[in-house]
Subunit: 141 residues, 2 copies
DNA sequence: GCTATTATTAGTAATAATTACTAATAAGGA
DNA sequence: TCCTTATTAGTAATTATTACTAATAATAGC
């Protein structure tokens, strides 16, 4: 589980550096994503955050997700599902994605995945992701 | 480069097995994707196929892409770009994706990527994908 | 602490990608 | 060649995401 307090602290620091304001909306959105391992989509974040901030708009959710991504606090899970899914866990891990129900499970690893040597031929490498696609037990059962 | 003739032959065989018809639309869409390494999106396939089949509809492109995917002849490239990108190369390889312009480059490998052991905990594994994100030379230049 | 500046937000409209619908067409088995 | 029915073209509808605007509130300077 991610330490949410330190995550908020990091948000405060990053916002200050980037001349961005530390708004309660940003705090709540980050809290929500960091407190679950379900890799929620924008709509799910919206529904959850609305419980504590009833007047937040979906637009704010999308903008905030983009901001948090720019600050490097969260990232989108690579997938081919219709909706983008978000993750606040920056430790080295990859994902098992159920192609049937869209569930995303974390696969933790002791070290981060190295990009193949040939990668550097095409440009500057920023990140390397591994996904495992399959059918989860729930969908099989 | 993919051998297109054998790809069409495989389509013929798979269609027959699945009780699906071998239509010129399916042949042309598969040809188009198999003849390029640019991993085109639906719109690009549409524009290209229209050159030889001017009356084909975008709906047919989307349906055909889904059918070809079901038959295992093509697959979607995992990405977080707004449009789905298609690939007909089934040999073991992964992708370098430029986060700026959306270009997708093939990274060929001598053997396919093995899923981490922990993957099997979550369900039946169908495929394992590796993506390298970065900024391509063109966008850096 | 108060004020002014301006980044950010809520509410909503617009766009972009994909999917659904329906009547007409054509693949392929009999 | 005919018949059945999967498939298609054309278009409408849906879904996810982004853009717009006036109102609000975070924070720097006083």
């Amino acid at each position: 589980m991610i330490n949410i307090e330190s995550k908020i602290e990091l948000l405060k620091q990053k916002c200050s550096e980037a001349n961005m304001r530390l708004t309660p909306q940003r705090i709540e959105v980050l809290k929500m994503i960091a407190s679950t391992d379900t890799h929620p989509d924008a709509e799910t974040v919206y529904e959850k955050v609305k419980e504590v901030m009833p007047f937040i708009s979906l637009d704010t959710i999308y903008r905030t997700l983009a901001s948090l991504e720019d600050l490097g606090l969260i990232f989108k899970v690579d997938n081919e599902l219709p909706k983008s899914r978000y993750d606040a866990d920056l430790s080295p891990h990859c994902h098992f994605i159920c192609v049937k129900c869209g569930a995303v499970y974390d696969i933790h690893m002791d070290k981060s995945i190295e990009p193949p040597k040939e990668s550097f031929k095409y440009g500057e490498v920023l990140q390397t992701n591994l996904q495992v696609k399959g059918i989860c037990h729930k969908c099989r059962g």
